[in-house]
Symmetry: D2
Subunit: 333 residues, 4 copies
Amino acid sequence: MGIRVAVAGASGYAGGELLRLLAGHPEFDLVAATAHSRAGQPVAGVHPQLTGLDLVLGATEPAALADADLIFLALPHGQSAALAAALPDDAMVVDLGADHRLRDANAWARYYGGAHAGAWTYGLPELPGGRDEIAAARRVASTGCYAVATTLALAPLIAAGAVRPDDVVVVAASGTSGAGRAAKVHLLGSEVMGDLSPYKVGAHQHVPEIKQATGATGLSFTPVLAPMPRGILATVTAVPTGDADPRAVLAAAYADAPFVHLLPKGAWPHTAATAGSNSCHLQATVDVDSGRVIVVSAVDNLGKGAAGQAVQNANLMVGLPETTGLSVYGVSP
Amino acid sequence: MGIRVAVAGASGYAGGELLRLLAGHPEFDLVAATAHSRAGQPVAGVHPQLTGLDLVLGATEPAALADADLIFLALPHGQSAALAAALPDDAMVVDLGADHRLRDANAWARYYGGAHAGAWTYGLPELPGGRDEIAAARRVASTGCYAVATTLALAPLIAAGAVRPDDVVVVAASGTSGAGRAAKVHLLGSEVMGDLSPYKVGAHQHVPEIKQATGATGLSFTPVLAPMPRGILATVTAVPTGDADPRAVLAAAYADAPFVHLLPKGAWPHTAATAGSNSCHLQATVDVDSGRVIVVSAVDNLGKGAAGQAVQNANLMVGLPETTGLSVYGVSP
Amino acid sequence: MGIRVAVAGASGYAGGELLRLLAGHPEFDLVAATAHSRAGQPVAGVHPQLTGLDLVLGATEPAALADADLIFLALPHGQSAALAAALPDDAMVVDLGADHRLRDANAWARYYGGAHAGAWTYGLPELPGGRDEIAAARRVASTGCYAVATTLALAPLIAAGAVRPDDVVVVAASGTSGAGRAAKVHLLGSEVMGDLSPYKVGAHQHVPEIKQATGATGLSFTPVLAPMPRGILATVTAVPTGDADPRAVLAAAYADAPFVHLLPKGAWPHTAATAGSNSCHLQATVDVDSGRVIVVSAVDNLGKGAAGQAVQNANLMVGLPETTGLSVYGVSP
Amino acid sequence: MGIRVAVAGASGYAGGELLRLLAGHPEFDLVAATAHSRAGQPVAGVHPQLTGLDLVLGATEPAALADADLIFLALPHGQSAALAAALPDDAMVVDLGADHRLRDANAWARYYGGAHAGAWTYGLPELPGGRDEIAAARRVASTGCYAVATTLALAPLIAAGAVRPDDVVVVAASGTSGAGRAAKVHLLGSEVMGDLSPYKVGAHQHVPEIKQATGATGLSFTPVLAPMPRGILATVTAVPTGDADPRAVLAAAYADAPFVHLLPKGAWPHTAATAGSNSCHLQATVDVDSGRVIVVSAVDNLGKGAAGQAVQNANLMVGLPETTGLSVYGVSP
């Protein structure tokens, strides 16, 4: 008899990936999945890739989730706080949305608006002390996709004092699933194929999360929509403080992390190699002309960037090995 | 202690997918992988998506494979027969290539050329009696990707006498991984993105395999290269002999097949829903204008079309449930 | 001083392509463009590729178009008839929609529904007598994209008696722009990239147009959505009546057609080669196994399949060379 | 009778685009095209999108080009200098390769190696004085694709003193045609679709060209290969020196440039809108968190980034309006 889990907000892309992972998880029993506007429909009608999964979507309300020992919230930003407040105290909760990530209420107000629900334990196990904090928590705010890609590349360098925190420049490109499943003209296949398109330039809502998680104090972050369904490639540059080898810093930080791989010298991360996995690939160098440290990271935005990360957190919360039911290997080509 | 398995020809796309499946298989121990020109290199250098898999490629020769109980051959067409002949008699062998699929030596000579190595047990478990034959075999010729997509759509209809075998028209489009990993200008990303390109029109080497497996006697088969990495969509049309409902015939044929899914009425297979899985999705109707039966099937050419199919066969050969280590669910979007 | 032209329904993909062609046309002056829901916006805000074109969209009503000598209608199916009826009698009109293509009111009722507006001169210049009819017409119904790809491949063979008209099988795949610019979940980039997806299988509304234009009496037509923005590849098979060489028939039919190219033997059409052009590429063979004639055609669905075709018709109507302002050459890669 | 032009190195992607532009140019007569390994083949066999162009490729040697008034060199880097030296003195030459771009022999030696051929007039008309210099030149080194995208975004800001030249960070992603047409495994469609892949991180050969053209003294430049055939999106960030509005600086710099478009506030450049055109789209803002200036530019790497730029230069050299035979508008979707 496994641990009973449920998913609220299962009709989006992160929700679908979460269902895929949970359906194949050896210790979790998927007992319920809900979706606001698709309640009553079989999962396979909403996610044809899950054909064979015999489950009907329920309405997104506390009663539909009450049977579960652990509940995943995969709702649009701003919608999980209210639902979370109505869930039983003894249920463990992993929120894939942004509602409980920020400790700074002002930053929440500025980038998201509305009341700040308060911060939960931040769900990035690879941060120092992360595993223990998550294992002890009943409520975990899983990371944003851009934040995880940037933080894994940058946080150890700032923590080690190897780079200055006040002049960080990040350009990160994401596959279109990161923009969600709502029908919008600018996300049509005809518009995105063959196209690279920057958005929210100069003021992206992920900036406060990235600063909080990395310790950066000055951050220029430009996101770009790329013509592929999945994947984030983050190019992170910062000014070194001395001669520390950024590869050595990263290698030490992730020596025991099963999902974070510093590639051999000369090999650079690329997104396809992480698709379908929970892995993050990293590489670093020092730019010969500018002297800046350049770190590149690649993740699957729906994997380590969302659903895989959430399952990793859930594994820790219930005392399982963090790798249970997750794949280190990508599905490629 | 699991069953010891090895892969010969591990540097191509089917080989990489096979390694991914075997590395995650709960009952198989991957003890060796070989590749002609990449011998001595770590697997992750050739397949970055397998970063974390600690294995070095060996040379493709019998000695490198001798430790295995079961050997997968993922070599170019025409190269597996010689290697197979040099393997120990007590090793089980699954060949992903074409060398041992055709029973008709003339068809081999016509479409492939060279000496005919003779036919092995044909590795499509969903054919009538297929599971038992494969379970009893020591040598299995796993199916071609186009053949599996077409055969699962068509064979039950011909076997049931529901359609005429002498006037079958198939147009099937494949993702580019089906064309292999050799560097060729017409397979460059710049050439294939945005492009649909037919090839070998009027005389494709998969025709005799499809005829053998389906019982078709007259077959027009046109393959098309499509701008995506994975997936085959086969549109199969044939002339009905009477009023049999093609959906009912297919439903009966696959009632006990865990990987073949006849979709609910009105839902049509599409390739993305099968990506990364070992599933085949099917749908059928009768064309209102021409009266022809139309069956559409979708598979992942590297999954049910190659590596997944090979693992399914191997599971049966060693007495495991056929689904062991394989996923019914696709990785999508 | 050129011929004054206007476009009604300029916010969709065909409308945008039409504006591009008209803005570069040496004899046409683009005096107005309208769009229902985008009226008042600059063209470049709706079609960023037309940045630099100084024109504001008007409301789609007769008054906004009255200044033009020739009016293009690029409206959704079912909407052009009403507008056309309200236009001045002395204005020439080219309709890119389906409203005036079908001569058979029953076929209209069955596939489109609503009142049948009556047929206009069919705008495919390459049909026998087509150029003269179009040159003499004041109202022209330009072809559908699937119809032009299929008709150019098939019509000469039926007209010459080289193939039987009663057993034609067509599978045609289209880029996503053929599905329009309305925001729909199944057309999102995340859904279409990596995906081949058949639709309206067994009963597509283009069947009556194709039958009317080709003379086919029995037609199985299966359309497939392909992961690319533009292009149609049609695979047309039919039963030969004798030994006529299909290449010879096609070569004769298009000897004087500047936009229809029978490729050299062994070269097969592919869509990317026609992107951005008004060309159709053709090739034909006889299948060695089935004996069926296979003809493959490629067009740009927005070019020869829509906007380019419309401009070609307009050129003929006003007495210009049919190639004026159109490109034989594609934009590739 | 037009100006006689020829293309050396016509079998690559830039060469193909150049042939397309020249075939449609109203004042240029394309009299010869050469290609090392494809000599003797018809152009349409090498570039199917140019079906209908009746021209056979010659061998790449001076005699084959001697008839032309103006010769375009579209050869691999390092190969044009030798050919150029053997051309008649009275022939005008536009080199699309890197051989004659760098004034600094040391930079050439460091990034390219081999003898430095010496610098020609740099072919970027939009630089201050550029048009006049090019109009007066007989030998012009046309820009690199990354250089043009970066320079148009950055040069006016440095020239105006609006940003510091010593701390510029650029991340630029290119479509795959920028990587050329040589058959390489990492450029196969199966590898690039769904993938973002950085390359030459920390030491790219375009750095000295960009520094020379922009006046930057400290430059971190990271190129990324993106899953699309065409297009470059450059994200350029720099530290402002004061309160100058970067939009105002750019608007002033390009007030008379027909191909460079500063988009309306709030609209950001994206690559698809420039595909097939000779345009560059620009937008700028100041990052709210870091205070850095962010400028984004989009070009077609084969258009304004290569072939279109070369034709624009040629137009100026022969005294034609710079826009002759070039399109401001993109082909999209």
